[in-house]
């Protein structure tokens, strides 16, 4: 982990080598991550973008261990035996630290789950469960947030709602969000980076105009979505 001049721990990494099951996913890759912004990493299935995110999270063998990241995956990863509230503070429980229950309640209210804090996750819909997972991610209160296709399993409308919510709650944090959905990348990213591979390489970068969350119906965004789709189809 390196610390940038501004004092914010950086997710920027150099010399990333990832080999999984004899396959080279990344070799000597340098990956810079802009501070306090959302970087969307866009790529087709199998290019190794999830592996890159796992490397950044310190979850791969050989990747530097980190203590400053919050992790959110495609599955909500809520523990089925614990209440929604307990799930939001699970990180504190695991570390044996005092759990910020009031903050967790406030966050749950913020994501629209104020009246479901005592429910078990099984009683919640898919969208609600991912809201709870988002609240858990924010409750960890880490400077860097890593998200692996967090909204991929939701229906289109719920996904838009969750994207708006995430954009609002993640302001000021350094976020890397991996997705295969160009519209999601364009809505949420200060920067969108198209990756190809393996081995991973950066095929294209763009900084869409305006601030996230962007309006999914804006003509400029739709044009850029078309361009990104063409890049993705061209990239192997």
């Amino acid at each position: 982990m390196s610390v940038s001049p501004s004092g914010v721990p950086s997710a920027t990494s150099r010399g990333i080598d990832i080999a999984l099951g004899g396959r080279t996913i990344a070799a000597g890759l340098s990956f810079d991550v802009p501070e306090r912004e959302t970087l969307c990493v866009l790529g087709r299935s199998g290019v190794g973008k999830s592996s890159l995110l796992r490397w950044l999270a310190g979850l791969l063998p050989g990747s530097p261990a980190r203590t400053d990241v919050a992790w959110m995956a495609q599955q909500d990863l809520l523990l089925p035996w614990a209440s929604v509230l307990e799930n939001v503070v699970v990180g504190y429980r695991l570390r044996g630290a005092p759990a910020p229950l009031d903050r967790a309640r406030a966050l749950l209210a913020d994501v629209g789950l104020a009246d479901r804090v005592d429910d078990l996750p099984a009683a919640l819909s898919g969208g609600m469960r991912q809201r709870a997972a988002l609240a858990r991610t924010i409750c960890e209160d880490r400077p860097v947030v890593l998200m692996d296709e967090p909204f991929a399993q939701l229906d289109a409308i719920t996904r838009l709602d969750l994207q708006d919510l995430a954009a609002r709650l993640l302001v000021g944090r350094t976020v890397v969000l991996v997705t295969h959905d160009p519209m999601e990348a364009l809505r949420l990213g200060h920067e969108v980076r198209v990756v190809a591979g393996p081995p991973l390489s950066i095929a294209h970068r763009t900084r869409p105009a305006g601030c996230p969350p962007r309006n999914p119906g804006a003509p400029a965004l739709l044009t850029e979505q078309g361009a990104l789709l063409a890049t993705l189809r061209g990239a192997p």
Binding site: R54, G58, L59, W71, W81, R93, L94
Partner: protein, 247 residues
Amino acid sequence: MRGVVTAIGLFAIWEGFVRFTELPVYLLPPPSVVVDLLWRRADLLAIHAFWTGLEIVLGLLLGLALGIAIAIGMAASTEVRRWTLPVVIVSQAIPVIAIAPLLIVWLGYGLASKVVMAVLIIFFPVASAFFDGLRQTDPGWLDLAHTMGAPRRAILLRIRLPAALPALATGARVAAAVAPIGAIIGEWVGASAGLGYLMTQQLARGQTPLAFAALFILCLLGLTVYFTIDRLARRLVPWIHPTGDRP
């Protein structure tokens, strides 16, 4: 309710068959004779049922405790696993019937030899199911816990252990189903009380009806143990609603 109707129907067929064929009572007693004995010899049956029941319950408690301890030990440390696993496997490679006479020699005709036999049969399904459950934690949960900076102990206690409880419940149900075997084998090989002892005694004297009565009590005992454990196992995993079993 349907079970009761089926049982009554089967008993009626049995009774009719025995009367029609005029089979001697020492070969196959009719249910009416067995029921009569259940009533008249209730005191005798109760004493022997008490001992068999005690053997089963003690065997289950100790077997569950041993199985749970072995599974957690093996999951917590590879060192423990390396030392324990061979012993566990060897203990199951020897049929319990083969070591039953030895246990009687070592531990005597009393309660201890039967309880140890029951434990030997019971701990294995518990340990193996629970250990499997502890090993098969959703990798996503483990990733999440690692990024949260959770220590190994906390991951075991707060994630892997509760996640393995459904597997433990399965192991406990299997254990409850096989629990009477150890006790009964022990009583056959050498005992001074218990339903298995009563059966061998009565069969040797041609008192087949009383042996049947003992068998009936044993069946009730086994069912009671199984359904008690089944109920406890459900309470252990309240977040699981098996398909077709929703509240």
